[in-house]
């Protein structure tokens, strides 16, 4: 397996009135193409911050984050292109633009990346089809959809520019168990069939079943979890 992501000694500290809070404390790990990496942790453990560091939505205070061998923490790194082409986000609260339809939400990242209208439409229809969103739902505004539908649209949006890394922050946190399972299966499918590097942060231990690699995060520190002999630790 090819290493897509390598994180070395990454730290992030936030300044608060009550004092400095170290959300991520010297974290090191790798994630590979075609594999699902699950990071377990309680609320406030720093797992979402770690995800945002990987997605370049936050800047680390120290350490290196290499994607395909390039350090995205360097000042010369083109983070806009990185966000457009390398990573796709799936959020707990979906973060769809409610005034837009499912189709428009999916075409938006492609539009920002200057894809042609035809290309945008064809790819969005294809992705939504893969996520089980039919034609009627494609034209439905995001605020009229169920949680599961929204999350499937959010995954389609994350895949719009065909990124290498899918970063999912509590993707099942706002869904019932059955719907959550479907979403997890989709994410696993993206790793297995499409060769994506999928990183899921969650507090839901049942997702560990889907993981190739699993870590537990506590007070900003990351520890590996043994998840079975057949899979790597």
């Amino acid at each position: 397996m090819q290493d897509v992501l390598e994180i070395r000694e990454v730290s992030k500290t936030f300044r608060a009135k009550s004092g400095d809070v170290t959300a991520v404390d010297g974290v090191t790990f790798r994630a590979n193409k075609g594999e699902v990496t699950v990071i377990l942790g309680a609320s406030g453990s720093g797992k979402t911050t770690l995800l945002y560091l990987i997605g370049s939505l936050e800047n680390p205070d120290g350490g290196e984050i290499e994607v395909f061998g390039e350090d995205i923490c360097k000042p010369e790194a083109d983070l806009i292109q990185y966000r457009r082409k390398r990573v796709g986000f799936v959020f707990q609260f979906f973060n769809l633009i409610t005034a837009l339809t499912a189709l428009e939400n999916v075409t938006l990242p492609m539009d920002l990346a200057d894809a042609s209208s035809l290309e945008q439409h064809e790819r969005a229809v294809e992705l939504l089809g893969r996520m089980g969103i039919d034609e009627r739902l494609r034209k439905t505004k995001a605020n009229k959809m169920s949680g599961g539908e929204k999350q499937r649209v959010a995954i389609a949006r994350a895949l719009a520019n065909d990124p290498d890394i899918i970063l999912a922050d509590e993707p099942t946190g706002n869904l019932d168990t059955a719907t959550g399972r479907i979403v997890v299966d989709i994410l696993v499918g993206l790793a297995r069939k499409d060769g994506k590097c999928v990183i899921i942060v969650t507090h839901d231990e049942s997702i560990l079943d889907a993981a190739d690699w699993a870590y537990r995060m506590e007070d900003g520190k990351l520890e590996g979890i043994e998840i079975g002999e057949e899979r790597n630790l």
């Binding site: 979402t48 939505l57 806009i80 292109q81 966000r83 082409k85 609260f93 938006l108 539009d111 920002l112």
Partner: protein, 510 residues
């Protein structure tokens, strides 16, 4: 371009929210543009007034100096005065004749001021023409002699005629203002003035009564002299007709009523000779560039011409004030209204955008997280702001065309009432018009140069009663500027918000 499309689509997606903002902006913009239209119209009309009123001045012997001379004469015993007159030298006699006149060189010197555009010199006097008779005046005199008052005034004679001299017949105010029209022959020219050509313009009725035609000659006698040497042959160069104005026809304006038609117009140098006062004029009359130069000219006059209080510079500034003051007040009021309404527009757009952007913080975070640049997001929101402002300003411009005239009339009526009140108070308090009126004292309330002329009070009031709020092209340009202004202001909110926004913060929020 894509950001523009996204912004436009986003604008269409929030019709209700946009409608509220547009309505609020529309009200303030309609008021702003109406005030602007009124301001532009008032300013434009003030400029028009400036071109015709307030730029006329005369140099003449001051009323104070005249009064002082009258007082001095009155204090003298008549016999003493007669004895003094008999022993006068020629120089003293000339001084006596010219005491109410202005030296021509002073009038010429003042004309060198850079603000002066055109000038003329005028001398009016009474001249005896022994070989013609004013038949209408003769009738008046005979009626007076038969009447209960007995004898007519000693100075009144049917051979006495008014002579008005200036440097160019066509520019005599009566002809310029149209109260008299040349019907035969031609005007004397500036060259005639320089050459002292003995020519005159005569009134038509008088010419007919005395069987005079263009080319005929009449004999005038130089004032204070006698014998053949005192006679001057004058050739009739032109015949004019007096135009009966509406007011004259109704008999309401006695000041301009002149049934005798006894005025002859001749080159100034000829009238000076006939009057025995060469080198002196009754007044110098000047048109200067603008009413704004009044102060500068007054200072120049005081410094170089005034000779103590002997001469005065009279201007029609008070006429300008009468006409322009309500317009200036309307301009000021509309400016205040404009500033207030634009302030309200600014406040509305800032608050509206703060609310709109505040409510879409998560959307901003998402856009940034999926790879939108600050510029792309800014452009999208800028288009939304511009669309809102554009719709509001188009509607406002439409309604402005309908209401601005009413606004102008309303403001003008308010200011005219105020101006009338102030004017009346001034009359009661000082007897010479509104307080603070420039040159009100020296003018003594008299009209300038020619009574019933272009600066008469009636025409002033007529001009000041209306304000034509024309929907000018520059209003459209100002509308575009206002649109740009409020749009830029509206964009400031998303600009600050977007550049400071950290997507990681907003995306984690429930």
């Amino acid at each position: 371009m894509r950001s523009v499309k996204r912004g436009f689509r986003s604008f269409r997606r929030h019709p209700l929210r946009n409608l509220v903002v547009i309505l609020l902006l529309f009200v303030c913009l309609a008021f702003s543009l109406s005030m602007l239209a009124v301001k532009l119209a008032a300013d434009s009309q003030v400029e028009e007034v400036k071109q015709s009123v307030g730029n006329y001045a005369e140099i003449r012997v001051s009323s104070d100096y005249r009064m002082a001379l009258f007082e001095e004469e009155r204090s003298q015993d008549p016999s003493e005065r007669a004895a003094q007159a008999r022993t006068m030298t020629e120089e003293e006699q000339l001084e006596q004749r010219t005491r109410f006149l202005v030296p021509e060189e002073l009038a010429d010197a003042f004309s060198q001021e850079t603000e002066i555009i055109t000038y003329d010199k005028v001398l009016e006097t009474q001249i005896t023409l022994s070989d013609i008779t004013n038949t209408e005046l003769e009738t008046v005199i005979s009626l007076r002699e038969r009447g209960p008052q007995g004898e007519g005034p000693a100075a009144l004679s049917s051979n006495m005629f008014s002579f008005e001299g200036n440097t160019n017949g066509a520019s005599a105010s009566d002809f310029m203002l149209g109260s008299k029209v040349l019907v035969e022959g031609s005007f004397y020219t500036y060259q005639d003035y320089l050459d002292a050509a003995p020519v005159v313009l005569i009134e038509k009725t008088l010419a007919e009564d005395n069987e005079l035609a263009v080319g005929d000659t009449i004999t005038a006698t130089i004032s204070g002299e006698s014998g053949r040497d005192a006679e001057v042959e004058l050739t009739v160069l032109g015949i004019y007709e007096t135009v009966e104005t509406e007011q004259q026809a109704e008999g309401t304006n006695m000041e301009t009523f002149n049934p005798m038609g006894d005025t002859f117009y001749a080159p100034l140098s000829v009238v000076q000779t006939l009057n025995g006062t060469p080198g002196y004029v009754g007044l110098g009359s000047y048109y200067f560039d603008s009413v704004d130069s009044t102060d500068a000219l007054q200072q120049a006059f005081d410094a170089n011409i005034a000779d103590g209080d002997t001469y005065e510079l009279a201007t029609d500034y008070s006429d300008f004030e009468t006409i322009a003051d309500p317009l200036l007040k309307v301009g000021k009021t509309s400016m205040i209204g404009l500033a207030g309404a634009l302030g309200a527009c600014a406040l509305i757009i800032l608050l509206a955008m703060a609310i709109i952007i505040g409510g879409r913080t998560r959307e901003l975070g998402v856009l940034k997280a999926i790879g939108a640049t600050d510029r792309q997001v800014m452009a999208q929101y800028a288009v939304e702001v511009v669309c809102i402002c554009l719709v509001a300003i188009i509607l406002a411009m439409g309604i402005t065309a309908l209401i601005s005239q009413s606004m102008g009339d309303w403001l003008l009526s308010g200011n005219q009432v105020a101006a009338t009140d102030t004017s009346q108070q001034g009359i009661v308090a000082g007897g010479q018009g509104a307080p603070g009126q420039f040159m009100a004292g020296p003018m003594g309330g008299n009209s300038l140069y020619k009574e019933g002329g272009r600066f008469s009070v009636a025409s002033s009031q007529e001009q000041s009663t209306s304000l034509d709020v024309v929907y000018q092209g520059n209003l459209f340009l100002y509308g575009v500027l206002i649109l740009l202004g409020i749009s830029l202001l509206g964009m400031a909110v998303p600009l600050v918000w977007i550049t400071r926004l950290r997507p990681a913060r907003v995306l984690s929020m429930e």
